[in-house]
């Protein structure tokens, strides 16, 4: 059975989210920081009049922050009926994956990453890590 994944990159690696969960992908908006918020919450953005919480995926995955001058992109996903935006480095294309290509994450992955990764799809062009949206967005 084939599924479609919306892909994006973080620190050079390719990640994907089931395309049905993705509302849109766009350039990053100005974020309003939320003091006292749990780590990984990058602030609030105004998405056409809707206040949307933004998750910094780099921080969530335990990666180093994006260099200061680089501008991140936003992938807006639906979680429990509410849109949440994910900060990513770059947005890729929509890729077809087969269940047969799936494999659970190896034990050697860092914990921060293992928590939010469902597993990897072994594609011809390299690995595509499937992001567990619900866990990645849970505070």
């Amino acid at each position: 059975m084939s599924r479609q994944f919306a892909t994006f990159t973080l620190d050079g690696a390719r990640y994907g989210v089931d395309v049905l969960r993705v509302q849109e992908a766009l350039r990053a908006h100005t974020r309003t920081p939320v003091p006292l918020a749990p780590k990984g919450i990058a602030g609030l953005v105004n998405l056409r009049g809707q206040v949307v919480m933004t998750i910094d995926l780099r921080s969530r995955l335990g990666l180093a922050p994006l260099p200061g001058d680089a501008e991140p992109m936003m992938v807006v996903v639906q979680v429990d009926g509410e849109p949440i935006s994910l900060l990513v480095d770059e947005i890729g294309d929509v890729t077809d994956v087969e269940e047969g290509q799936f494999e659970t994450p190896p034990d050697t992955l860092p914990t921060a990453l293992r928590e939010v990764i469902l597993g990897a799809y072994k594609l011809d062009r390299g690995l595509l890590l499937a992001l567990d949206v619900d866990r990645a967005t849970a505070a």
Partner: protein, 870 residues
């Protein structure tokens, strides 16, 4: 099947509304047993429920309603008068019906609600006076089978209506005649006439009247249903939008003279009776008013024709979209600002205007009169009063006061709780009241009104009041406060402790209240919607609970402030005043007690909380950045929130926060500012609770202790110029407020100058005259120091306010003069110490009369009421 569900749902909605009305009517009926209007209204409601339940094959429901109707028929025909047992059993019937409806709602079927006991009770009451016993059995006989010949015309008429609605969704008016067999044939032409003339519902009564007159000879017309088709959604079959059945005059008149066989006839009508949907017109046409035959009829129809039922979700969606529109409008307006394109500017202005009007309009659609919640109260009060053995009269003032429906829903429980409390704990038993010299019947008043952009709802009883001392004792006993803390509290502060969790003054747990869920729950619920609760009480006089509720949740005025470069919104309701400190002064103005920052606000210490600290920004602010203290009111205490800058006040649209952010507890929501930026709305109550509880509360106590200690050797004085370079010092304890008055407001009583101030006549004292100074050219405005003691005030006129300083008694000199108690050096100037007592007496010789035993010492004990309204 789907259609069936729709019908049942409509039936439930309407029946619930009708039952609420029934509760009210029955209780009202007890007070006015002879009211034909109320009786008709009650009768109609039950009749409708019975009819529809028969139609929908809800047998249990029909049986209960039928039994109740039998009783009502006797009442209506004047063969029985409304008394307590009758009311009780009828209310019991209402409850049972409600129970069955609940079961239907939950499961789609009636379930096995026990109806027999109720029916038995009704019969018992009925048989208690069986003068007309014959009527009941007859009704009994008729009830099981509706296919009596009597019903023939009845069945036909509604059928015609349904067809008519389906065929032509224009206004269809149908009239139904129920009568003895002879009359039935005479009445038949009436529906036909109306069905044939589906033009205006207004025409119905006339036709009915004619028909009724024809029929009146041997029978009575029981109900006329007027149907306005546009009112309801097309999908809904005939029963939905039916306007309250109205009896035309002839019919109403004919009821009393009906032959004994008539009553059973009425009950047979139900299968065809369309449900009465008086609730389609929420407040505009209360049923009691509508029940007046003839005269009220047309008005009622008009209301029905102009109102429709709308799905609440649709309204919510509309509201959200309008919120977006307002924000988009704000952005367009800014883009258009400074633009040279005249057309763009003009369009933007027009857009702005339309958006504002639209916003207002949509907000209005969500408003509902508070009567929606109050209408349940008469029943609650009645039942409770019976249980508690009280006599209570309920008065409701301002029923029409409107507020947002979400809020209405939210205040329901707290309000019910307060009402229950008032009956159970507030109002005393009749003999206790009489012993105290009060009328035996307690008065419970519900009052609602708009004030300052908020809705105020008061629950007032004239009962025994709440004794602050007892509250204090209880708090100590429960370990909520220490005895020391309680000793220092003012009565008002003591009363505030009622809102502490785990507080309940009820001596014994009763069925009604005192189970530990008390006022803290009320407060929590009210605060959740951005409101506040206050309590005022005078022992043996009564208690007032006051809820302040925002008009709407979705849009509210807020103050935008800046802290560490970010903008935050503070709801205006919490804001008392703003105090700006300039850079250099800021350092000195903020003092520390045990590292807790405080600010002297008109002599009283105000605990300060830095927004930077609350949000844990870290890092020190530059010493010379300007500072603003927003004085905020939270629960019981006020505190100052230190921010960097205040931007403006604007109407903000509240956006909900993601649950993950709500959990932080510091933010009440988010909003979009005019420039499209997201800004967080601060939750003032939560911040206060976080930062002022625990050890900082202790700090508060230390503060007051420190304050008391300081007061012992130094007193704060207001230094005022009185012209001619002279300065006098007035103890701050004698300063209630500072006011500017226009010259024109001075009036005269005899030789004295007076002003009207806050609804009282207040004498003026001119210090320069009293102390023999110069009178300089009269300026436009008078600066006055108002000193209020109890209900009396005097206004002391000064020329200018110089400063508030500490007066060190050590420096006092005895050099004085008439009207002074001495002199001292303040701010390197010789300053005369005003003898306030003498100054006040000069204006109002009897000012201190009632406290002469205390003498002047009374002055120093007075609290300074720092003016809260900035």
């Amino acid at each position: 099947m789907e259609d069936m569900d729709e019908i049942v749902r409509e039936f439930l909605v309407e029946s619930y509304e009708n039952l609420d009305q029934l509760d009210q009517d029955l209780v009202a009926l007890e007070g006015a047993p002879d009211s034909r209007e109320l009786l008709s209204s009650v009768f109609r409601t039950i009749h409708t429920i019975k009819g529809t339940s028969g139609f929908l094959a809800f047998g249990l429901l029909e049986r209960v309603a039928h039994a109740g109707e039998n009783l009502l028929v006797e009442l209506r025909d004047g063969r029985r008068s409304m008394d307590q047992p009758t009311a009780d059993v009828l209310l019991l019937m209402v409850d049972t019906i409600r129970l069955i409806l609940g079961t239907i709602e939950a499961s789609g079927a009636e379930g096995d609600v026990a109806v027999d006991p109720v029916i038995e009770k009704i019969h018992a009451v009925l048989e208690g006076r069986t003068a007309d016993a014959a009527a009941a059995p007859v009704a009994e006989d008729v009830e099981p089978s509706v296919v009596e010949p009597v019903d023939l015309p009845v069945v036909q008429a509604p059928a015609a209506v349904v067809t008519e609605v389906a065929a032509a969704p224009a206004a269809v008016a149908s009239s139904r005649k129920v009568g003895a067999r002879k009359a039935a044939s005479a009445a038949t032409p009436a529906p036909a006439t109306k069905a044939a003339a589906p033009t205006k519902a207004v025409r119905a009564p006339r036709a009915t009247k004619a028909a009724g007159a024809r029929a009146a000879s041997s029978a009575q017309a029981v109900a006329v249903a007027v149907e306005a088709a546009p009112v309801h959604r097309p999908a809904v079959p005939a029963p939905s939008g039916v306007v309250p059945a109205q009896q035309p005059a002839p019919a109403a008149e004919s009821v009393p003279v009906a032959p004994p066989t008539a009553p059973p006839v009425a009950p047979t009508a139900p299968p065809a009776a369309p449900p009465v949907a008086q609730a389609a017109v929420p407040a505009a046409a209360p049923k009691t008013a509508a029940a007046e035959p003839g005269a009220e009829g047309p008005g009622l129809r008009t209301a029905a024709e102009t109102s429709i039922r709308v799905d609440v979700e649709l309204l919510d969606a509309l509201m959200r979209q309008v919120g977006e529109l307002v924000l988009a409008r704000n952005q367009i307006s800014r883009l258009a600002d400074g633009n040279v394109d005249l057309d763009l500017v003009r369009s933007a202005q027009r857009l702005s205007l339309i958006a504002s009007e639209l916003q207002e309009g949509v907000m209005k659609t969500r408003m509902q009169p508070i009567d929606h919640v109050w209408s349940k109260m008469p029943r609650i009060v009645r039942d409770l009063a019976a249980v508690c053995g009280r006599q209570v009269r309920l008065e409701m003032v301002g029923k029409e006061t409107e507020l947002d429906r979400t809020l209405l829903e939210a205040v329901k429980d707290p309000l019910t709780h307060l009402v229950r409390n008032a009956v159970d704990h507030g109002i005393e038993a009749a003999e206790v009241r009489e012993a105290a010299g009060k009328v035996p019947t307690g008065l419970l008043t519900l009052r609602a009104y708009h004030a300052g952009g908020q809705v105020v709802v008061e629950v007032t009883d004239d009962g025994k009041g709440i004794d602050p001392e007892r509250v204090g004792a209880k708090a100590v006993e429960k370990g909520l406060r220490t005895a020391d803390q309680v000793t220092g509290m003012s009565p008002q502060e003591l009363l505030q402790m009622l809102f502490l969790p785990g507080f309940s003054t009820a001596e014994a747990v009763t069925n009604v209240s005192g189970r530990g869920v008390g006022m803290d729950v009320v407060r929590t619920k009210i605060e959740a919607i951005g409101g506040t609760v206050e309590v005022e009480s005078v022992v043996s006089r009564g208690t007032t609970w006051r809820l302040r509720i925002p008009l709407t949740l979705a849009i509210m005025p807020a103050l935008t402030v800046e802290s560490a470069g970010e903008l935050y919104a503070i709801p205006q309701v919490s804001l008392l005043e703003l105090v700006a400190l300039d850079g250099q002064k800021a350092g000195g103005a903020i003092e520390y007690i045990n590292s807790a920052p405080v600010y002297r606000l008109r002599g009283a210490l105000l605990p300060l909380v830095s927004l930077r600290d609350v949000l844990e920004y870290g890092g020190e602010r530059d010493a010379d950045t300007p500072t603003v203290i927003a004085v905020l009111q939270a629960d019981t205490q006020r505190f100052g929130l230190v921010v960097d800058r205040v931007l403006n006040t604007e109407e903000i649209v509240v956006k909900p926060l993601s649950a993950r952010l709500k959990a932080i507890g510091t933010y009440a929501g988010a909003t979009l500012l005019g420039d499209g930026r997201v800004s967080l709305i601060l939750d003032v109550q939560a911040i206060a609770r976080r930062t002022l509880s625990g050890e900082s509360l202790e700090a508060d106590w230390e503060q007051s202790a420190a304050k008391a200690a300081r007061a012992a050797d130094a007193e704060q004085v207001l230094v005022a110029g009185i012209g001619g370079g002279r300065r006098v010092a007035i103890p701050l304890s004698a300063v209630t407020r500072l006011e500017r008055l226009k010259h024109e407001v001075i009036e005269h009583v005899g030789g004295r100058e007076v002003v009207q101030y806050r609804g009282a006549i207040v004498p003026l004292v001119r210090l320069e005259r009293l102390l023999g100074g110069y009178t300089e050219a009269a300026s436009e405005e008078l600066l006055v120091v108002v000193y209020t003691r109890g209900t009396r005030s005097v206004a002391i006129v000064v020329e200018e306010i110089v400063d508030i300083v500490e007066d060190d008694f050590a420096q006092h000199s005895q050099i004085d003069d008439h009207g002074l108690v001495g002199s001292t050096v303040l701010k390197e100037r010789v300053t005369e110490l005003l003898d306030v007592r003498q100054a006040v007496m000069a204006a109002d010789p009897s000012f201190f009369d009632d406290v002469d035993t205390h003498g002047t010492s009374d002055l120093s004990q007075l609290h300074v009421f720092a003016g809260a309204s900035a």
